[in-house]
Symmetry: C2
Subunit: 425 residues, 2 copies
């Protein structure tokens, strides 16, 4: 039985500026060739199905995706913009990252990168603040920003939470973040936590003379999420954080739209990404997820640490950092070129198992335009949260002042203690 997934491979085709281009890794199922499976992928993700249908026309067939490159297990596919609804990320993903993952004719499929045509790029907002806006807001020109996550992840009540935040700020932390699974539980209600913590922020700002930031986790059903964003605004908050993958892209778009008026900075946590990104042969790369998040318009995004408790190798994490922070991306290997135009850069966030001894390597790998978030690496300091905050800020200052960490530790007690507990690389 001959299927109708045919005519979608055309290696002489040259993508135009009207095409959305995807880079995929593909492993055919047994008995299938790369060319056959390339036909299936491009067909199913555009206008094809498994059998010829009476309702097909030559005009529609011309709208089909085109596989213009097959190289080993890698293919590049060009999709005419007309296949997509501008400004509708779920629709775009239902095409290029939808049914195709489930096809019997393939064993593995990974969406590695997406190149957005202008028509689609213009239909999304991109970040409202981006790196420059955030640096201006925080009044920190150059060094990495210094953040912590309140720990334990769950369990502190509102007052305890605000107190831990306060100590972290006093110790030198710029940014305090809720953990990704803290929203509004019985032991710690959202509204009360926001009020208490922002009150402490004001106090910390008065005491330190520095700008301090609290990022409350508003992850919830869409309307409740927006309601919580408004609570943050009403209490003079500047930021919200959201778990972009567990709320989903519709809600992220809705949140970004709301920020046009509400003017809060969006911090994007990526909880669950590993379910999709971790297998190098299947799912979607973190690079592609970062691409999507930038286009929709979060201001900050977790990209990995290379050196911490979470997986992600140097090459990969550096590439993600560049993808979200640069204006132009050069094509390289399976990474597609991108001209981001008016879409602002997203501030890269490194988090997961970080402590002061890892900062030099981290900055060496990723540059100074990062937000370093340490939870255990602050509150686990032998001297407690405030000492841990001091140690982290000292590590960042040692970079700013261009003094080696070990050298700096000689005259900075908290940093020395941190290094004694956790080591350094």
């Amino acid at each position: 039985m001959k299927g109708a997934y045919t005519g979608f491979v055309n290696t002489r085709y040259k993508p135009t500026s009207n095409d959305l281009v995807c880079s995929f890794y593909v492993e055919p199922a047994r008995g299938k060739t790369m060319r056959q499976v390339a036909e299936h992928v491009a067909g199913e993700s555009s206008v094809g199905t498994w059998t010829e249908v009476a309702t097909m026309s030559p005009k529609i067939k011309k709208m089909g995706a085109k596989v213009f490159k097959i190289n080993g297990n890698w293919i590049k596919v060009a999709y005419p913009s007309e296949l997509f609804e501008p400004g509708n990320m779920p629709q775009i993903l239902s095409s290029i990252a939808g049914n195709i993952y489930g096809m019997k004719s393939l064993k593995n499929l990974r969406l590695e990168d997406i190149q957005w045509p202008k028509k689609i790029m213009r239909s999304f907002k991109g970040p409202q603040f981006g790196i420059k806006g955030i640096r201006k807001f925080l009044e920190v020109d150059k060094r990495p920003l210094c953040g912590t996550i309140i720990k334990p992840k769950l369990g502190l009540n509102e007052i305890g939470h605000a107190q831990v935040a306060f100590e972290a700020w006093l110790g030198g932390i710029d940014i305090v973040k809720d953990d990704e699974n803290l929203t509004s539980q019985s032991f710690n209600r959202f509204e009360k936590r926001v009020k208490e913590t922002l009150r402490k922020r004001d106090k910390a700002e008065r005491k330190t003379g520095e700008k301090k930031v609290y990022m409350p986790n508003i992850t919830a059903e869409t309307k409740e999420m927006l309601r919580r964003a408004h609570i943050v605004k009403e209490n003079n908050g500047d930021y919200v954080m959201v778990d972009v993958l567990t709320v989903g892209w519709s809600a992220v778009q809705t949140l970004r739209d709301e920020m046009q008026d509400l003017k809060l900075i969006i911090h994007a946590h990526r909880a669950m990404h590993g379910a999709i990104t971790r297998n190098p042969k299947h799912g979607m790369s973190m690079l592609a997820i970062a691409d999507i998040a930038r286009l929709i318009g979060v201001d900050q995004l977790h990209i990995g640490t290379v050196v911490g408790k979470m997986e992600g190798n140097k090459k990969e994490v550096v590439a993600i950092g560049e993808e979200i922070e640069r204006k132009f991306i050069q094509a390289k290997g399976h990474i597609l070129a991108e001209k981001w135009g008016n879409i602002k850069p997203v501030f890269a966030v490194c988090s997961g198992g970080l402590h002061p001894g890892l900062i030099p390597k981290l900055v060496d790998y990723l540059g100074e335009d990062i937000i370093v978030q340490a939870g255990g690496g602050v509150h686990g300091h032998p001297g407690g949260t405030m000492a841990g905050a001091h140690a982290m800020r000292q590590a960042i200052n040692s970079f700013r002042d261009n003094i080696p960490l070990k050298e700096y530790a000689k005259t900075h007690k908290e940093l020395k203690e941190a290094i004694e507990k956790w080591g350094y690389i």
Copy 2:
């Protein structure tokens, strides 16, 4: 360096009715034991982090998750309900299916099943209509429902789309569905499509004397999605369809909430699920996704076909069908027991490469409470859409009348032609 992911394994612990229980497949990274990684998984997904923190207390530690069973590569973890925000699915998933996928200490992790405690179960709505409500609405007591997807997936204009739907209905199809990547593109605008297609539905109902259904795809940013649901209602539609994974769970919850007043039936497409479900060692099972979709409250859900173009073996698809359609689920292997209480059953949808010759096997495997959706298997019929619709309905009628398909085909021309083209099993 000793991390603080300790004290989360307690194999003498007996889960209580207050616990949310998860069944995970786990593969430790090299050099790690199952017990160590079990500690990491339970710790990171509840109250732990990688190092002891000064802010931890015995009371908080008691709220931690408990690994109460380790069996080969499988673990069962009990989470006290207090860790979760009732009615907030993204929060629940940021805990039990969040950061843990990215931990360096493990190589693979798959969430296989979730058992909901009453407190959480009561905080979600479940389906508004469910199987009984849909059968009542469609006035079809017993047989499988008969659906098609308009093909080609993309490219028909609004008038063409409505015309294909009309022919399918006349031929005997109950339910016509948009394809998962058709929303509101320049060649086919949502509002016009809905108006045209529902007008044809009315005509088809008058001509056939049967109830006919159109499921317009409202997949979009949340507010736009709701706006489209209202357009459907204003045009006397009865159904909406949504790609639950590409819009995300926040939007699905928002949609379900809106249906309390709007009273439309929700059809859930699962585009992208394969990115998460396909690897048997990593990600999340389709069973777990189905569990989540039922709890939030979609009325219909794609579960696979066993026999079609999409992967999914018999045992797995049958188990998913039971999970969403039964009132009680028996614990079996890695599947956890569930008492669904007042949460209604979801109508299972089988779609992907189906044609009339596959119906007997499909019904044999999954029973009569299924919605059979065939796109290519209708519009690819040698006689065109209406003949294809006849053939599909004939296949379903042969089941209803308990006559073997081959026998039935002798007196039903369109069925005979379909079998000649595509074969039967």
